[in-house]
Structures are given as C-alpha cells and as structure tokens.
C-alpha cells in the first residue's frame, strides 16, 4: 500500500490550493473592481470559468486514461479515469448552476439554448452516463471497458457537438457573450481569473488524488474479502 504517499501528495496539493482559494476570495470581494457594463454579477465569472476549465481538463484526463486502459489493461488507469470523471461531472454541475445565476441578470433568463450552455449540458449527460454504465453491468470488468469506450466517444464528440450547436444558434440573433477578457478588461480582473484557475486546478488534483486512493482501497478490500483462492492449497483449517 503506497497510500500514505498518495495522501501526502493530496495534502501537498491541497495546501497551496486552499491558500489560493482564500486569496481568490479576498481578490473577488475586496480587490477587483466591479465590471462596468455587467456590474456585480460579473464576479460569478471567477468561479464559473475555472470550474469549466477544470471540467474540460477532467474529461480530457478521462479520455486519455480510458484509451490507455483499453490499450494497456492496467487497472490503475481505470481508477484514475473514474476519479477524474466523478470530479468532471461535479465541476460541470457547478458550471451549470452558476451559469444560470449569471444569465438571470445578464440575459434576463435562467436558461437559454446558447451554444456553450447546450454543449455543457450534453457533456454532463454523457459523463453521467459514464458513471452509470460502470455500475450497470454484472461483471465489473465489463463495466470498466464499456465506460472507457464511452469516455473516448464523449471526447471525440465534443468538437462536433460544439460546432453543431454554435451553427444552430448562429442563424438566430445572438445573445450577449460574456467577455471580461475583452479590450477594456482591467489587469486585476485577469489576475483574479488566473488565481481562480490555479486554485481550482490544484483543488481538483488534490481531491482527485484522494478519490484515486479511495478507488485503490476499494479494490484492495474486495481482494481481501471476495477471495482470491488461497495461495496454498495446504493452508486453512484452524
């Protein structure tokens, strides 16, 4: 069990992560100026965008680990994939919840079939399907392979999904797109956003490390309980 090593890694990632989170809150609430056109609501941006970034990165990890798992068959790759997928789905949930909170003020509506919202929603469904599929088979090994196939399929589909929904919308009058990184953006806004990106990335990897350790332990426990045949035929009795 190298799990103590894993835990140490998790803590080493979490400490700067939490520090950056604290810094981010100070920046967001005390330091960064209020954006001129959108007002206070724009501050959601500093968690919304980092969440989206982390979610995409997580799904990228899922796809890469899934492909490698199918190729090499190493169980650890599958454990990494499921850990990343769980995180990816949660961060996508954050994106989908904070987005409408912003849109209600900025666009005057909770939900709109704006391209980015639509692709994010579909992405969420695809990877919820990934998590469901793992538990839906009688043989866990099969579930892992099926999920890996879906994980790869999902990432391949993303560019086409995005292209399609953008296309679909572009034929209609387009709503305002939020662009704080536009020409008039204050450098402090960029700094705050970068802090958010760094904080979320570190936190994601810290939690994912723990999630991975959990997956390892789960497998080790089922080995101890569900019984590999005893190593020696002569053993036993007592």
């Amino acid at each position: 069990m190298q799990l103590t090593g894993l835990r140490r890694t998790g803590v080493l990632l979490a400490i700067p992560g939490i520090a950056l989170v604290l810094l981010l809150h100070w920046q967001v609430f005390f330091w960064v100026p209020t954006e001129v056109t959108m007002g206070v609501i724009q501050r959601i941006y500093y968690v919304h965008v980092p969440s989206a970034w982390v979610a995409f990165m997580a799904f990228g990890i899922v796809a890469a680990c899934s492909a490698a798992y199918l190729w090499l068959g190493d169980e650890r790759l599958d454990m990494a994939a499921v850990s990343a997928a769980e995180g990816g789905v949660l961060f996508t949930t954050i994106v989908l919840l904070t987005g409408p909170l912003w849109a209600r003020t900025a666009w005057g509506t909770w939900w709109t079939w704006e391209p980015r919202l639509t692709s994010t929603l579909l992405l969420w469904f695809i990877y919820v399907g990934y998590l469901l599929l793992r538990g839906a088979t009688d043989s866990p090994q099969r579930g892992k392979r099926f999920a890996a196939v879906l994980g790869i399929l999902g990432i391949l589909d993303i560019p086409l999904i995005h292209l399609s929904v953008t296309w679909f919308r572009s034929l209609h009058p387009q709503a305002v797109v939020m662009r704080p990184e536009g020409p008039q953006a204050d450098p402090s806004m960029v700094i705050t956003l970068l802090t958010g990106l760094a904080a979320f990335t570190l936190l994601f990897f810290a939690i994912m490390t723990y999630r991975y350790a959990l997956e390892r332990l789960t497998v080790e426990r089922s080995t101890a309980f569900a019984g590999t045949p005893a190593p020696s035929v002569a053993g036993g009795g007592a």
């Binding site: 809150h25 609430f29 968690v47 954050i94 999630r211 426990r221």
Partner: protein, 82 residues
C-alpha cells in the same frame, strides 16, 4: 473520524468567510448605489455558496467512503471462513 470533523469545520469556516465577505461588500455597495437592484448580490452570494457546498460535499463523501473501508480493513479483517 477526525478527518471528517476537520472537513466539516473547514466547510463551515469557508461558508462563513464567503458569507461575511460578501455581506461586507454588498453592504458597502448598497449604501453607494442604493437604487440598484439587490438581485445580482444574492446571485453572486448563492453561486459562491453552491460552489463550496458541492466541493465539500465531494470531499466529505470521499472521506466517509475512505473511513468506512479503512474500518473494514483494520477492524474485522477477512472473514474467518478462509
């Protein structure tokens, strides 16, 4: 058990910090821009709370699952049938 308590207290600390900071900021702005709608403040407030609730929910769920397995591994050990 200790880990669980730690995550809970951290969660509460964060929510408190976020809440108080937002309140402070909101209160300041209200006095200056009294005419502005209050809704955006609430939405920012809810958004930040949701983010940390979800993340801490994830951490707590992992910690609980880890704890359960570790108790299983150390406490009972493999069943005596073998």
């Amino acid at each position: 058990m200790r880990k669980k308590g730690l995550s809970f207290s951290l969660a509460i600390a964060f929510v408190l910090v976020a809440t108080s900071l937002l309140m402070a900021q909101g209160a300041g702005d209200i006095s200056q821009l009294a005419r502005q709608n209050l809704r955006p403040y609430w939405h920012v407030f809810i958004a930040y709370i949701l983010v940390w609730l979800i993340l801490f929910g994830w951490v707590v769920s992992i910690a609980r699952r880890l704890g359960r397995i570790e108790r299983g591994l150390q406490g009972s050990g493999p069943p005596s049938g073998r």
